[in-house]
Amino acid sequence: MSNAAFAPPLPALVGAHPQLDEPAAPAPSTIPAPEYHLRPWVQARAVGGVAALGLAAGLAGQDWALARAPAGLAVGCGVFMLATPALVVGHQYLRLRAAPGALVAAVADAFARGGVVALGAAPAVLWLAATSDMGPTVGLLGLLGIGAFALARVLANLVDVERRAGGSLEAATGFSLLWTGLAALIGLRLLFAFLF
C-alpha cells in the first residue's frame, strides 16, 4: 500500500504552545488523589445510597413520591453521562495538561463520595418520612445538598489533577468552574424533569 493513501502528518506544534512543549514539574497536591471510587464496595454503596435516599423519601406513602424515588439515581447518571464528555473534550481542546482518564476519575471520585453520603443520610430521611410529611421535601433538599457537595468536590478534584499534571491552575480553575456550573444546570433540569 502506498503512503500516499494517508494524510500527510500534522506539522509539529513546537513553540505554538509552550506549556505543552515543556512540561512543568508536578506541583505538590493539597488533597488525596481521586481514587475514592476505587475502594472496595464504594461504587455499590454509592449507587445503593442514592437509590436508598430516594426510596426513603418516598416512604411517606405519597404515591407520586414513591413513583419518583429513583429520580436521584437518574439525575446522577444523567449528569455523569451528559456533562462528562463536555469536560473531557473542552479540557483537551483548551490544551490543559491533565489526561482524560484523570478527569473522569476526578468526577467519579466525587460522585462516589456523594453517593456514600446519601447512604448515610438515608436512615435520617427514612425516620422523617415515617413520622411526618417532610419526607419528599427533606429527600429533595438532601439530593440538592449532596449534589452541591459532590460538585464542590469535583471542582477541587479537577483543579488538583491539573496541579498534579503541572498545568496552569488559573485556566483549570476557570474551566472547572464553568463545567461545574454546566453540570449543576443539567442536574437541576433533570431533577425538574423527573419530579414534575
Partner: protein, 235 residues
Amino acid sequence: MNALTLTTQVLRDPDSVAATADRNDLARLAPPLLALTIGGAAMLGVAAGASSGPLQSLFAATKLPLLFLAPPLVALPLVHAFADVCGVAVPWSRLGVATLAGLARSGLLAAAAAPLLWLPLSLDTEYHLGVLAFVATFGVVALPALSTISRAVPLGGQQRFMAVVGSLLVLGLLTAQTGWVLRPFVARPRAEVTFLRPVESDIFSALGANTRSAAGDYRSDWQPSGSGVFRERSE
C-alpha cells in the same frame, strides 16, 4: 475508672473520654455513660411532667431518654459517611464513645436543669409558655452533645466544615422531630394523660402554632393531622 471519676471527666473534658477510645473502651464505657444519660434525662422528664401529676411525670421520664438516644442512633451513619468522604475516617468505636460521652454530659446537665424547669411549671405557668420553656431547656442541655459529637471527627481533610454543619443540621432536625413524635412531655391542663399522641403533622408547624398561641394569637385554626406512614389514605 469509678463512676465519680467518669462523671467528672465527662463534665470537664468529654473529648478526652473519646480521644483514646477503641473497641474495648466502647464495651467498657457504654453502660455507665448510658446510665448517666438515661438517669439525667429521666430527671428532666420528671420535672417536665410534674405539673400534670405523677403519671405524666412517669411517662415523660420514660420518653425523654429516648429523645436523647434515638436521634444520634439515626444520624450517626451520616456523620460517619461525611467523615469518610472528607478523608478523615473516624472509627465507629471512637464515634460511639464520643456520642455516648456527649449524651452523658447532656444528661448530667439535664439533671441539673430539672429544678430550673420545674420551678416555673409548678407555678401554673400558661401551657404554651411551659412548652416553650421545656423546648428551650432541652435545647440548651442538648447543645453540648452536638458539640462533642462534632469534635469527635478529627481535624483536617477536605470539606470538613460542610460535613460538620450538615451533620449537625440533620441531627438537630431529627431531635426536633423525635421530640414531636414522643410528645407530650408537658401535658395540656385538664387533658387526659396519655403516653403518646398519634403521629401528626410535624414539629415546625406545631412550634409555629404554639408560638402564636403563647403570644396570645389564637386566630389560626391549626390542627394536627395524620402524617407519614400514619397518613389516612385517600380513596
